[in-house]
Structures are given as C-alpha cells and as structure tokens.
C-alpha cells in the first residue's frame, strides 16, 4: 500500500544532466558568439587553422546547442519533474537508475566524440543531422534508453492520470525518434564497396526527395526539440513557481493535439519556390498559418495562468523569465508563419532574417525557459537557497536586451539583403552586385556579435549563480512549496 508520507525523490540524474546543460550551453554559445563575430570581422576565421573557419564551426554550434544544451535540459527536467508528476521516485527501481546512468555516460561521451568528428570535417551536410552514421547509432541508442526509462517510470507510477507535461515529453520522445530515424537513413559506403573511409556514408534519398525528408525533419526537430518539451516544462514550472493553477484544461487539450497534428505539415515551408511541387509548398504555407492557433493557445494559457497574480512579476525574477519566455514564444510563432507566406518568403528566404527568427525563438524562449527551470529546480535539488536574486535580475535584463538587439539587427539585415538582391534600375537591370549586399550588412553583423557577447555573459552569470547556490547558498531545512527562495 502506498504510504501517506511525502515521497523522497532521487535527483542524482537530474543533477548530472543539469551540469551537462550548463557545460554544453557555455560551449555552444561561445562558439555561436565566435561565428557571429567572424561574419563581422573575418580575420577571426584563422584562430584555429582549418578547424576554426566559420563554415566548419557553424554545425558545431548548432549541434552543440541542440543536441548538447537543449537535449540535456530536456533530460534534466524530465528526471526532475517526471518523478514528481507521476508520484514515484526513480530510485524505487534499480533498473531505471542503472539505465539512466548508462544513458548519461553514453550521452556525455557520445556528444563529445560527435562534436570532435564535426570539427574534423566528418559531416553528412544535412542541417542539424550532420553526424555521420556511427554517431547516429549512438544518438538512437541514447534515445531508446531514455524512452525505456520514461515508459518504465510511467509503468510504476502512483498517479494514474498523466499530467500535461508528460504528454509533451512523451510526444518529444516519439516525434524525435520518428524524424531522426527516417532522415538519417544512410548507407555506409565501406560496407557496400569494401573501399575507402569506413565513416563515410551516402543518403538513402537523392535531390528533391532528400530535401523534402530533410526539411520535414529540420522543421520538426525544432517542433519536437525546441517547442514540445519546452511547453512541457512551462506547464509544470510556471504553476509550481507561481502557485497558480493552469488557466484552462480545455485550452491545453486543444493546443496539444492541435500542435501534434498541424506542426509536421509545415516542414515544406522551408522549400518554397524550390523544385518541390507547388501543392506541397502551398500546404506548407497554409499549415504554417494554422499553426498560430495551437502555439498561441499554449502561450495564452500560460499568460492567463498568471491572471490576478501579476504582482509576482515585479518581485520574483523567475516568473519574469517564464513570462518573457512565453512572450517570445508568441513573437516567434507569429513571425514564422509570416515568413512562410510565399510572397514574404521570396524576400526572406536565404537571408539573415531566418537566423534572426530562429534566435528570438531559441534565445528568448528555449534558453530562458530552460534556465528558469534550472533556477526552480536548484533549491529543491541542492536543498539550498538561490545564491543571488540581484545577479538573476541583472542577468535577465542583460540577456533580454541581447535578444532584442539580435533579432532587430537581423530583421533589418535580412530585409535589406532580400530587397537589394531583387532591386532593378529603370532599364530592368540588377542594381547591385552580390558583394554590395554583403558589405552593407557589416554594422548589423557587428551588432549581432555584440548581442552574442552580452547573451553569453548573461549565461556565465547564470552558471555562476547556480554554482554558488550549490556550494554556498543558505541551506534549507524543508522543501519550498511554491516560490523559490533566493538571497
């Protein structure tokens, strides 16, 4: 029989993945800031010989922040909140604990090895799926381990009804599994021919088909990595931190199932005006616009959860992080559909507006939400008060300014570039040579690099705050109920 005593949860795995989140965050953002600076100041390309060029570093940046930082954050929060919403400690099953630890070490070693392989130039050149086949196998193994762990924990749960967050983590697991598997279908050339480098492979798909599969993946890896689990986080951490109940269960239902159904269709908006058939492009466009509904559904549900309690925004910086995250989520999910309209896309595609869009989403929404989650978990995992509220406040404003600088400069850069590419004089001749459209961007690239430095400094402040919390925060005798205690 279940005892009525409060459960003691085991946070060892959550802690381990929290450390990795911070480590890969620092690494990924440092590289990101470096490559942003390289576009403004090309001399910076030569710091590391052939391994330091923009082109070589860019996939290292994207893969480190996606598969290093974000995925660790997803694992860390799952191993924390999974236990709590299912009302079962993971330590109750030795099997799940062992599995979790194997997952951790395989992930840590695998991620480092894969990063080195990218630096050395082993790449399939499919965006966000650059890892060569042996590393793909490691990724699949890690994912399966996590899936088994999740199902296992669900299997031994005491709380029979799955909380909303669990739906999202479950969808994250299933979605990424499907996408990753299909997009990374490749044939190692060594095994067919007996010749050449064993690490090399060719894609199962060619040309237009490869493009379709890739962007079905690329777009939805964002969906199931950068949206779905992050929504899962906010559904748990915002009510927990604010002490407010979720505004509407029906809105949660509509947003969840709506997101699941609609998101996948929108992938082809990455291929507008390409050689993909028109009807697919139109479907991508149309579904992108429909996607506003479930996206805003979640965000509005979060904002309305704070109804009547907006005073918390002024005195709890953690609430500020989460509310700003939902707001950036709204911005990003209205911007995306605008860019997916065919006539807008004709200007926006291939320009810096696209990285601008990506980064108001990831910097403003994903990273903010993951940091807020870690801030909330820290006093409960380490049984100590958060080290400094003041540091948290300064970090918040520094990083918010950085995000605003990032996307505004890239909006201007992107639209400038898109308009210059198509500008014609009175006789119908092109007005600008390509290089004119590059040199004009210098000031915007410089602003973006500056915003990168600011954001990175903010992240270091975050890491320092967590480190000090662990080591010298005031010890707590009992677990805080809602609002996280901070000095």
């Amino acid at each position: 029989m279940q005892s009525n005593a409060a459960l003691e949860y085991d946070y060892s795995l959550a802690k381990k993945f929290t450390f990795l989140t911070i480590l890969f965050g620092i690494l990924g953002m440092l590289i990101g800031t470096t490559i942003a600076a390289q576009l403004a100041f090309p001399e910076l390309n030569y710091l590391l010989g052939e391994y330091g060029t923009f082109s070589r570093l860019r996939p290292v940046h994207t893969n480190t922040v996606i598969f290093g930082f974000t995925v660790s954050g997803v694992f860390a929060t799952w191993f924390y909140l999974g236990q709590r919403v299912l009302k079962v400690s993971i330590a109750e099953s030795k099997f799940l604990m062992v599995l979790g630890n194997i997952q951790f070490w395989l992930y840590f070693v695998g991620a480092l090895a894969a990063t080195i392989s990218l630096l050395l130039g082993y790449s399939t050149s499919k965006e966000y799926a650059q890892y060569e086949w042996p590393f793909d196998i490691v990724v699949v193994l890690i994912w399966v381990l996590w899936g088994v762990n999740m199902m296992g924990l669900i299997g031994i749960r005491r709380e029979k009804a799955l909380y909303i967050s669990v739906w999202y983590y479950l969808a994250c697991f299933l979605g990424i599994a499907m996408l990753y598997l299909f997009n990374n279908m490749e044939i190692p050339t060594y095994f067919v021919s007996g010749l050449g480098n064993p690490l090399h492979s060719v894609s199962m798909y060619a040309g237009t088909n490869d493009a379709l599969v890739q962007w079905w993946y690329g777009h939805n890896a964002v969906a199931f990595g950068f949206t779905v689990p992050i929504v899962g986080m906010i559904y748990y951490f915002l009510p927990k931190e604010s002490g407010q109940a979720i505004y509407s269960y029906k809105l949660s239902l509509l947003s969840f199932w709506g997101l699941m159904f609609v998101y996948l269709w929108a992938g082809s908006h990455h291929l507008l005006w390409s050689t993909v058939p028109d009807w697919m492009q139109t479907m991508g466009s149309a579904f992108s616009v429909v996607l506003i509904l479930p996206s805003w559904g979640s965000a509005i549900n979060m904002l309305l959860t704070m109804k009547g309690e907006w005073n918390q925004l002024t005195d709890n910086p953690l609430i500020k992080f989460m509310v700003l995250a939902s707001t950036f989520y709204m911005l990003s999910t209205i911007e995306g559909p605008i860019q997916a309209i065919k006539s807008v896309n004709a200007i926006a595609h291939f320009t810096d507006w696209i990285p601008g869009h990506v980064h108001d989403g990831v910097l403003g929404w994903v990273v903010f939400m993951i940091m807020a989650s870690i801030f909330h978990m820290a006093p409960r995992m380490f049984k100590r008060e958060i080290y400094s509220k003041k540091l948290m406040e300064s970090q918040f404003w520094l990083q918010t300014t950085a995000v605003v600088l990032y996307f505004t400069s890239m909006w201007i850069a992107g639209i400038t570039q898109g308009m210059m590419w198509r500008a014609v004089d009175e006789y119908g001749n092109l007005m600008y040579s390509f290089i004119d459209t590059v040199t004009v961007l210098h000031p915007y690239y410089a602003i973006r690099a500056l915003s990168g430095v600011m954001y990175f400094v903010g992240f270091i402040m975050f890491a320092y705050n967590i480190y000090k919390t662990m080591t010298s925060g005031r010890e707590l005798t009992e677990e805080p109920q809602f609002r996280s205690p901070m000095a």
Binding site: R58, I154, L195, A206, L212, Q214, W273, W421, F434
Partner: protein
C-alpha cells in the same frame, strides 16, 4: 475520450504517433518516384567530382552558399536558368543550402574558371574586395580522399542503380585499375592552375582537396 487517454499511456502514445505521422505520409510519399527522376541523358558525377563534393561537405560550404536558383527574374539574371528537380537526381545528399551569405553556386561552372577559383580559395578578399569569406589555404595541402569517392560511386551504382559504367566495381583491383583515370582528370585541372606545389602533388599521385573541389564546382552548370 481525452481523460481516458490520459490514464492509458499506451493508447496515448499510439494516438500521438498516428497524429504526427499523417503529414509525412501525405506530403512526401506520393511524389517520391517522380521527384527522383533525372533529366534525360544526364550523367552522374565523375569520381574526382564526387571527391570534390566531399570537400564541399567537409568544409561545409552550404553554411553560406545555396545551390537553388528560384524562378524569379532577379535570380535568373544573376545566376542563370532556374533550377530543375531532375538536375538533382544524383545528388546524395542534396546541397541546396538554406542561407546565402555568399552567392548561389548552382551554375557557377558557367561563369567561373579554374584559375579564378584557385586564386579565390587562396585569398577571397583579394579577388572580391570586401568579401568576408575565409581563405581555404589548407585545401591546397590536404589530400582529397579519392578512394572514398570511388567507394561512393560503387555504392550508388550497386544500391540505387546510378548509371556508372562497368569499370566501377567494389574490388581493390577495379579501384587500382581506375585510379589513373581519376589522376588524369585531376592533372587536367592542375594544368590550368599556377600553384607549383599543387602540380607536384598531382604528379606524385596525390590529389589536393582544392583540385577535387574545383572539378566539382566546374561541373555545376
């Protein structure tokens, strides 16, 4: 129904899987065979060009360059005919790219020459003042992996029936016999270049990465 699903994780997972599978099935599958068809009489890339494609992937040129000319006058004026699906039929992976920090390269073989690329890869801002592209000097000394490129040709021939000739076979003997063909093609490129070290390397039977890359870029037409 939703309450019931939330108490039955197995069916919940099954439900999610069904709902998320629709889009891919409907958008990707029906057109698959048609989109895979090459243009009439199109030849697959030579082994040297494949090795060059690997250099293009290794140094990740798609971070800044697209290979997709959209059907707009401003693009066809700048880059040439708009791209056709069949032109990509042998491209594994597709290298359309998603960002033009530099110009499109899909038809660069029509308007740039071997010596232009040689000088440009060595020092881009010297050829294009104001360019922010880094120099790729290491491509002049790194040796391209032509054996792996040959292995790729064998693989796509055997698995996907890409129309390579009977001389492309997965044995050491076949590769040894074919190697001089690749070197001869590399020598043709090197003859148009000025760098003495590059010429020397090719003469010794090693193909510098830049030679393979230029062979690939010249094939983009």
């Amino acid at each position: 129904m939703f309450h019931w699903l939330e108490n039955n994780p197995f069916f919940m997972a099954a439900g999610i899987s069904i709902v998320i599978s629709f889009a891919g099935l409907i958008e990707i599958v029906p057109n698959f065979a048609k989109a895979g068809r090459p243009l009439v009489d199109m030849k697959p890339r030579t082994v040297l060009q494949l090795a060059g494609k690997e250099v293009y992937k290794k140094d990740n040129c798609i971070a800044c360059h697209s290979q997709m000319i959209r059907p707009f006058k401003s693009e066809t004026d700048r880059y040439g005919n708009y791209s056709l699906s069949g032109e990509y039929a042998y491209d594994r992976p597709f290298l359309w790219g998603s960002k033009r920090t530099g110009p499109d390269l899909h038809r660069i073989g029509n308007y740039r020459t071997t010596d232009w690329h040689e000088a440009h890869m060595m020092n881009p801002p010297k050829i294009v003042p104001g360019s922010i592209m880094p120099a790729y000097k290491h491509q002049f000394t790194n040796v391209a992996d032509i054996e792996t490129a040959y292995a790729e040709a064998v693989t796509v021939k055997n698995v996907f029936h890409t129309p390579y000739g009977p001389e492309i076979k997965g044995t050491q003997e076949a590769w040894d016999a074919y190697r001089p063909t690749v070197l001869a093609e590399a020598k043709k490129i090197a003859d148009d270049m000025t760098n003495e070290d590059v010429k020397k390397m090719v003469a010794e039977g090693n193909v510098p990465e830049v030679v393979a890359l230029i062979a690939y870029l010249n094939s983009l037409k």
